[in-house]
């Protein structure tokens, strides 16, 4: 059963009584909240995600709840909780969904050390995964959104989970986090997209979450082989160009974008070098999404595009 198959009443009932478990392969998340806005946004963004039986095991137990007694009613704020422990600073009420998304990213990045966790978007086509590691503001999520709106499978727009044992990459196929100008850019790029109402004044500026494609969610359990690593950099008005990067420099850049490279020690080094060994490595500078898409498409063998 998918979350979208629940009536809004049933969804609300499960969410508010800690009985909602969403299968976000390779993890499952039990979510509790009494915020109607969160229920509405979950219904939009996670409609295609399977839900698990109420008594099923969940990897993470999270909640988004109002903060403090007075703050419940005067300019209310919400906080993200993991195992009933408040994490992060409280955020405005209308940041509830963003708070949950960022909180979930933190849960995975700081707990799931069976993977090398990289701050990267991951898309896949014809069995070849392209990793797009980049610091915030590089245009990673915008490019990721454009790629999945043009037929690439979404694995993640934020966290690449590299399994050192199998050399496969997992995603979770969760919503794409668009920020500031990229919200209008993607709306113009594909007017039919479904996204949450933009919320302003977050720590990342204005944020909207894009519904992940159904086909990607249905294949969320399927990992992919990393074949290409592309470091994107959006530069206004720049012509798109792809330049090769040496493997040693690529490893350094991946290590910088990894959340748990230091935690994994030698295992992290071996995971990064093994991944880079299997991939072509490039820097992509782009000012136009259409040009960038052509370049990323051209990474695939010609018969596959």
């Amino acid at each position: 059963m998918t979350l979208g198959a629940l009536s809004i009443t049933e969804l609300w009932s499960r969410l508010s009584s800690n009985r909602l478990i969403i299968d976000m392969a390779p993890f499952s998340v039990r979510i509790r909240s009494t915020e109607p806005a969160l229920a509405r946004d979950l219904r939009l963004l996670y409609a295609e995600f399977p839900i698990l039986p109420e008594d099923e095991f969940a990897d993470f137990h999270v909640a988004v709840a109002r903060d403090g007694a007075i703050r419940r009613w005067i300019r209310p704020q919400v906080r993200f909780f993991l195992d009933d422990v408040a994490s992060f600073v409280p955020l405005k009420l209308d940041h509830a969904m963003a708070s949950m998304e960022w909180g979930l990213n933190w849960c995975v990045a700081s707990h799931c050390h069976q993977y090398l966790v990289i701050h990267a978007a991951v898309v896949e086509k014809h069995g070849a995964a392209v990793l797009l590691p980049a610091p915030p503001g590089s245009g990673k999520s915008t490019l990721c959104a454009a790629l999945v709106l043009r037929g690439w499978r979404l694995l993640s727009d934020e966290l690449a989970l590299y399994d050192p044992a199998t050399h496969q990459v997992y995603g979770m196929a969760r919503p794409i986090n668009l920020k500031n100008r990229s919200i209008d850019v993607i709306r113009a790029f594909e007017p039919s997209v479904l996204m949450t109402e933009p919320v302003r004044d977050t720590s990342k500026g204005t944020v909207a979450l894009l519904q992940p494609p159904s086909a990607s969610v249905r294949r969320a359990r399927e990992p992919a082989q990393a074949r290409h690593i592309v470091f994107p950099q959006f530069t206004p008005d720049a012509s798109a160009g792809l330049a090769g990067i040496g493997k040693a420099r690529a490893c350094m850049a991946i290590a910088e974008q990894s959340f748990n490279y230091d935690v994994l020690g030698r295992g992290g080094f071996e995971a990064v070098t093994a991944m880079v060994d299997r991939c072509s490595c490039h820097a992509l500078s782009y000012g136009s999404l259409d040009q960038a898409l052509c370049i990323v498409d051209a990474l695939l063998p010609s018969a596959a595009t």
Partner: protein, 90 residues
């Protein structure tokens, strides 16, 4: 005398000059030029003086002779000391 410090792993790729080095104890990763990587390997076995290192990594090639090359070795050694992969012993 210079001496290698701690455990490390080196990763090289064909057709690439730069070498990646992971210092296991320090949990740090570094890009090394080929000369620095060579020094690191030489110093793994036993401590060596600067003269011994120059003689070890040098060759008959004119580029690996003389004061200029000695200075390059000295710089590479200083770089390795700067990232704590090499220490000194009396």
């Amino acid at each position: 005398m210079a001496q290698g410090r701690g455990d490390w792993v080196i990763k090289r790729w064909p057709d690439e000059e730069l070498v990646l080095c992971f210092a296991v104890l320090q949990r740090t990763t570094h890009l090394l030029d080929p000369l620095a990587a060579e020094l690191l390997v030489r110093l793994e076995a036993c401590p060596l003086t600067l003269d011994q290192l120059v003689a070890d990594v040098g060759s008959d090639d004119a580029q690996t002779q003389g004061e200029l090359f000695r200075n390059r070795v000295l710089e590479a050694l200083a770089a390795l000391q700067g990232i704590d992969l090499v220490g000194t012993v009396p």
